[in-house]
């Protein structure tokens, strides 16, 4: 990693909309590289981002980006940060090229038209650059948003559900672009998404958020060690029957079912490894997989969310 300094930091950040508490003493920080912000719908991810961008004022606590106050020094932050919002809306009568030219002007880029053309080409919209934005598909709008976020050559890019409307090729291109920008130009990223396998390919830090609070955060590798110790993943032909059996075993500390996969936190690894195949054989089930979890982001997320809800 090129830089491990924290770029984003919130301290006891609280925000309510009427009676709904969207953020509840949120203490978020990033890893200084490519960071992921994950959580279920309504967890407070977009509200957090909107506070960081200066769209919303915190009720309590503080939010800083590059040590700048997100509400009072929003303009300075926006000079350094590119932002792609979820389902962005643009002035639909403009052509894509004209829109980007205006954004380049806002960034005081010399030769804005040239820069706009370059960005349209970079995101694969060169052929559609003279078409009105209203004729763009959802995927094209997402690419235009990405070009808009990149045009000012920001130090930090915040992406809110960036792959939501992209086809598989577009997703791969985007992930490669993130990797390249971070590796070659030290650009930092904060990526909010639901698609954890994709996030795992690029991010080194993850913050898990639920009901407006941080459930856990840290380097993916550290979290992997923390949550994978003595936790096993079991896939069988009859998960419910195995689950019922394991619940009564003394070597199992905790066991639960997620989408037909059994997760078990074990006390005695040796007994567990011996007994599970025996139970499966006794009950005439098929054991498809039995392995300790190795820090797959999806699994870390599953465990942390389960612990939070207990």
């Amino acid at each position: 990693m090129n830089s491990l300094a924290t770029t984003i930091e919130t301290k006891n950040l609280t925000k309510s909309f009427g009676k709904i508490k969207a953020l509840n003493e949120l203490n978020l920080k990033d890893g200084g590289g490519v960071s992921g912000l994950v959580g279920p719908n309504g967890a407070g991810k977009t509200t957090t981002i909107h506070i960081l961008m200066g769209f919303l004022k915190p009720d309590e606590g503080s939010a800083t980006v590059f040590s700048l106050d997100s509400w009072k020094q929003s303009l300075e932050i926006r000079k350094k940060v590119g932002y792609l919002q979820e389902n962005p809306r643009y002035p639909d009568t403009f052509t894509g090229l004209r829109f980007l030219e205006y954004i380049a002007l806002l960034h005081e880029i010399p030769q804005p038209k040239q820069k706009a053309k370059e960005m349209m080409k970079q995101v694969g919209l060169a052929d559609a650059s003279q078409n009105a934005i209203k004729t763009y598909s959802a995927g094209m709008l997402q690419r235009l948003g990405l070009a808009q976020a990149l045009i000012g050559e920001p130090e930090l890019i915040i992406l809110d559900e960036p792959t939501a409307n992209l086809d598989p090729t577009g997703r791969i291109d985007l992930l490669n672009k993130i990797k390249t920008l971070h590796k070659d130009f030290q650009v930092k990223f904060l990526i909010s998404t639901h698609i954890l396998p994709e996030l795992e390919k690029v991010c080194n830090w993850v913050s898990i958020i639920d009901k407006g609070s941080i459930v856990d955060q840290g380097y993916v590798k550290d979290l992997a060690v923390k949550y994978s110790s003595n936790t096993y993943r079991i896939e069988t032909s009859n998960p419910q029957a195995l689950l019922d059996s394991l619940k009564h075993q003394s070597f199992v500390d905790d066991v639960w079912l997620e989408e037909n996969i059994i997760y078990a936190r074990v006390k005695d690894t040796k007994s567990f490894r011996e007994e599970v195949p025996r139970i499966v054989a006794t009950k005439k089930m098929q054991l498809i997989e039995l392995r300790p979890i190795h820090g797959n982001l999806e699994e870390i997320y599953t465990i942390t969310m389960k612990e939070k809800n207990e």
Partner: protein, 225 residues
């Protein structure tokens, strides 16, 4: 401001409004200069133009969340505020001024006749007041329909619903329906003194400045989500 101008330029209804303005100018009685420069038809054009333009430029921009795209880039809120307000004001004034100029041409007035410039000033003050009210309401309501309809209701409420006040007969005219907007014209062209004309100018100007300040402070602190 370029952004705003281009957006307005691409607004397909603009040509329609210009056509309406020219139509009204050609159909205005030419005998009464007061009627020509502040007639009810021109007032309606002003009200509709102002309500539609500001609702489209401000309320719709917030409602559709286009403003998030703008504000995620390095633009000062003050610049955005001023560009939205001034661009629409300028365009609406140019359209309505064309009615005044066309009317004066049809009345065979000399191009440098002071009556034309007084007429333009009156139209500008009327539009300024209507614009600040519409702009403020659009910012607060944040919905295109609300931002279009409520200002129209308030404008007509002001024009027809303000009760006559016998204590201030020289400030609020004792008769007539267009108590606020018509009065400025009457003080300019009728038997009123210059001082009374200034007083008539000051009322909508101060009201506009106050409304604009309210809108500015609101926009500076406005949360967008």
């Amino acid at each position: 401001m370029h952004w705003e101008l281009e957006e307005i330029w691409r607004f397909p209804a603009l040509e329609l409004f210009v056509a309406i303005a020219v139509f009204f100018a050609l159909n205005t009685p030419r005998s009464d200069i007061t009627y020509t420069f502040s007639n009810f038809q021109l007032f309606i054009i002003e009200v509709i133009l102002v309500a539609v333009f500001y609702a489209r430029s401000v309320a719709s921009c917030i409602e559709k969340r286009e403003i998030l795209v703008l504000l995620s880039n390095p633009i000062k809120r003050t610049s955005l505020f001023l560009s939205k307000f001034l661009t629409n004001l300028l365009i609406i004034f140019l359209i309505c001024a064309s009615v005044v100029v066309a009317g004066s041409y049809l009345m065979f007035l000399e191009p440098w006749d002071t009556k034309i410039f007084i007429g333009l000033l009156i139209v500008f003050i009327n539009i300024l007041f209507l614009s600040t009210l519409s702009f403020t309401l659009s910012l607060i309501l944040k919905t295109t329909w609300g931002g279009t309809i409520l200002p129209v209701i308030i404008y007509f409420g002001l024009a027809f619903g303000v009760p006559q006040n016998s204590d201030f007969p020289r400030v609020i005219p004792p008769t007539g329906s267009n108590v606020i907007f018509d009065y400025l014209t009457r003080t300019a062209y009728s038997q009123y003194t210059f001082e009374e004309f200034i007083v008539a100018l000051v009322f909508p100007t101060i009201a506009s400045i106050i409304l604009l300040l309210v809108a500015f402070l609101y926009f500076r602190r406005m949360e967008i989500d």
